[in-house]
């Protein structure tokens, strides 16, 4: 293609993207088609990838095609394996895509579709993709070292310690919040609970197929498992319509919380790999299939967004979670825009598979763009709901009232008309007992997804099946995150305790396994229990805490990246990571300040505790608020420590008081070029 045509194509892409962004930003008072969001996203991603990531590759990172990667130098056929870039891309995407980009945008939709969409696009192109890309490359240049190791080597011991504590902290909060989302999706839902329960015998059958019948044929067994899960969804309908059977699968939120806590402990402490490994494969299979199906559904149906671009809740009085648009919209949507957790994946398995340095751009930057697109699809699914329906599902009873009549009156009073008859019809259509007070984002996403699917595949009669398919997909997905996260947390704790007393560090010593599993499960189980018992639904206090901790980890990653860029003598380009870092520091500090000290009891933990104390409420609830305030303060203290230590290191290097020495692996020329030429 000639240069003129190429230039014209990119100018047209920029013009189309600008038109789409202007349409979603400036339309007021009339509904727009979801395709405007899709077009705005695709054009922004294309421009970001083509120009911004290329600039970073060439000027900031100076990617070197001739430099051998650890996958080539340390190839062992096990961890270090040079792999086709598209395969690594798919592998990396499957590892970073979790429930976060689906739940966060659904919750943030209470502000309208505009703030969340703009943050997802800008946050991904200028923040999240950059973080994933640079951390992946820096790990590749350090033999696949982890974020914690890079923080210790490049910033200092405080950086390393803060990174370690952050990882454990975020893991605990993440697991508590994820478990709460599952509880809120499955409570009083015999259909959903039955389907999830059935994944246990299905996984055992898959395990038997894998071990005995067709060893190693994971794809075959996953396809078989998928068919059986679809049958279980159909069977769930039969169970839910039979009162005596439905009784066995109808759980209250506290009962489900106890079951999930026991499940987490068993998954970590007992040798139940026969169950967990096949279920992990099944979850990945369903996840990839559903994301693909949702994309096809949106493109085929091109739904209209019923949510306005901006709602009255910009002022911080939202029922889903309380807090102003700044900083809370940016804390609520973490994955999908920028997620610190990705830096763990980008400095974990992926760098050991990269065949050439130049491929880090496509894998790191590109896979995060794909994840961001998933977040846009979740935003679309939530915003295709009538706002009254959206708020009926996502508003806790403590805000809108206990009965459907009172709740719909309150929501209609906000300017989002909805009737209890309308909600009753929708509840019947999806085969649930109630859709009120289903906080957490998962049920609202499932209803939106079911509407999209049923309008393009199967018609209204399939609405209930699609709804429960979506619930099964989210719950299965989250339970996998839960059991994997508990095990990882247990290993990290064992590594740390091993420095105190050696036997505690032995991963095969059963007393240590039981103790560390119990500590990790008790930690996230406490947050889960707190959320279940919270009259405001739990999400209001826990999701911001999760957002703050996730962004804290991103702050650590960007501190590491900025330090390495400055040490490499590229200070003039440090803004590439420094600007998103400064933004994250601003939002984590502001959000933490509000969460601790805001005089509004719906936002500030301490003012809420004072309000409860004044009304002689339950001492446990007061303690929970104070604990949340302390956890938030601890998180912010860690941000402060790592930022100060990094800034001192930057000052020393830039002012010439210290020579910037990086801990990179020495240059070795790749043999691939020679092989390819030969």
């Amino acid at each position: 293609m000639s240069k003129i045509i190429r230039t014209m194509v990119w100018l047209a892409t920029a013009a189309l993207g600008a038109l789409a962004l202007a349409t979603i930003a400036l339309h007021r008072g009339e509904q727009i088609n979801a395709m405007w969001l899709v077009v705005a996203a695709l054009c922004s991603y294309a421009l970001g990838y083509r120009f911004y990531s290329k600039f970073i590759s060439a000027k900031v990172l100076a990617l070197d095609r001739s430099r051998a990667t650890p996958a080539e130098r340390l190839e062992n056929g096990r961890d270090f394996v040079p792999t086709n870039k598209w395969v690594v891309f798919g592998h990396h995407f499957a590892a970073i895509a979790g429930p976060g980009p689906l739940v966060g945008p659904v919750l943030a939709a209470q502000f309208g579709y505009l703030p969340g969409t703009l943050w997802i696009l800008a946050g991904a192109v200028f923040g999240g993709c950059v973080q994933d890309f640079v951390i992946l490359l820096f790990s590749v240049r350090r033999d696949g070292k982890s974020l914690t190791e890079m923080a210790r080597d490049e910033i200092g011991p405080v950086g390393g310690l803060v990174a370690y504590v952050s990882v454990i902290g975020i893991m605990v909060i993440l697991l508590g919040v994820c478990a709460l989302v599952v509880v809120n999706a499955l409570k009083s839902s015999p259909w959903g609970t039955f389907t999830i329960a059935m994944t246990i015998p299905i996984a055992l059958l898959m395990g038997w197929y894998l071990r005995s019948l067709r060893p190693g044929k994971v794809l075959e067994s996953s396809a078989l498992g998928f068919v059986l899960v679809m049958l279980a969804i159909w069977g769930g309908q039969v169970v839910s319509q039979n009162p005596s059977m439905a009784r066995w699968f109808t759980f209250t939120a506290p009962a489900l919380a106890i079951v999930i806590i026991l499940y987490g402990f068993a998954a970590s402490a007992l040798p139940v790999w026969l169950l967990l490994a096949p279920r992990d494969y099944l979850s990945t299979f369903v996840k990839l299939g559903t994301i693909g199906l949702l994309a096809v559904g949106i493109l085929a149906l091109r739904p209209t967004l019923h949510m306005p671009p901006l709602t009255r809740f910009l002022d911080g009085s939202g029922p889903v979670f309380a807090g102003n648009i700044f900083p809370f919209a940016f804390i609520t949507i973490a994955c999908g825009a920028i997620s610190g957790f990705h830096s763990l994946i980008a400095s974990g398995t992926t760098p050991k598979l990269i065949r050439r340095e130049t491929e880090t751009r496509m894998v790191g930057y590109g896979a995060m763009l794909a994840e961001s697109m998933v977040a846009i699809m979740a935003m679309i699914a939530a915003c295709t709901l009538q706002p009254g329906v959206y708020f009926s599902i996502n508003s806790p009873a403590g805000i809108v009232g206990q009965t459907p009549e009172v709740a719909t009156m309150a929501i209609s009073g906000w300017g989002f008309p909805v009737s209890s008859a309308e909600m009753h019809a929708l509840t019947q259509a999806v085969g649930e007992q109630t859709l009120f007070n289903r906080t957490g984002g998962a049920p609202a996403f499932a209803v939106g997804m079911a509407q999209i699917f049923s309008n393009s595949l199967g018609g209204h009669a399939f609405m209930a099946l699609w709804y429960h398919f979506a619930i099964m997909f989210e719950a299965l997905f989250i339970l996998t995150v839960l059991d994997a996260g508990t095990r990882v947390g247990r290993f990290m704790l064992q590594d740390a305790l091993g420095h105190v007393w050696k036997p505690l560090g032995r991963t095969s010593w059963y007393p240590s396994i039981l103790l560390t599993s119990a500590i990790i499960v008790a930690a996230w189980g406490y947050f889960l229990w707190q959320g279940v018992k919270d009259p405001l639904g739990g999400i209001n206090s826990l999701w911001p805490l999760f957002g703050i901790s996730n962004q804290l980890l991103a702050t650590v990653a960007l501190c590491v990246a900025t330090t390495i860029i400055i040490k490499s003598g590229k200070s003039r380009y440090a803004a590439v990571t420094f600007v998103p870092l400064a933004w994250l520091v601003a939002i984590t500090f502001s959000a933490s300040w509000y969460k601790i000290f805001s005089p509004n009891p719906r936002i500030g933990f301490l003012s809420h505790a004072r309000q409860l104390a004044a009304s002689s409420s339950n001492a446990r609830l007061i303690f929970n608020d104070r604990l949340d305030a302390a956890v938030t303060a601890a998180l912010i203290l860690m941000v402060t420590l790592i930022v100060i230590e990094s800034a001192m290191e930057w000052f020393r290097v830039v002012s010439g008081r210290k020579i910037g020495i990086m801990k990179e692996s020495p240059f070795v020329a790749t043999q691939f070029t020679i092989e390819e030429r030969g």
Binding site: N84, G90, V488
Partner: protein, 66 residues
């Protein structure tokens, strides 16, 4: 068959191969093949059990993203 059709089929085959390759990697089938190659053995119940034992600890330490 025209040259354009042949080129399209070639590109389609390539894309399908990559797609299958991605699935093999994600679902550990590629890792199992490498294990068999490394140990000069063929697929069997015993080989797969051995592979799972070797793979499990590394997999268990791998975080799942949110």
């Amino acid at each position: 068959m025209s040259r354009a059709a042949r080129a399209f089929i070639h590109q389609f085959r390539l894309a399908a191969q990559i797609f299958v390759g991605v699935l093999h990697e994600i679902f550990d089938e590629a890792a199992y093949s490498r294990f068999l190659l490394r140990n000069h053995t063929t697929s069997s119940r015993e080989s797969y059990s051995e592979f799972r034992r070797e793979n499990e600890l590394a997999k268990a330490r791998r975080p799942r993203c949110c």
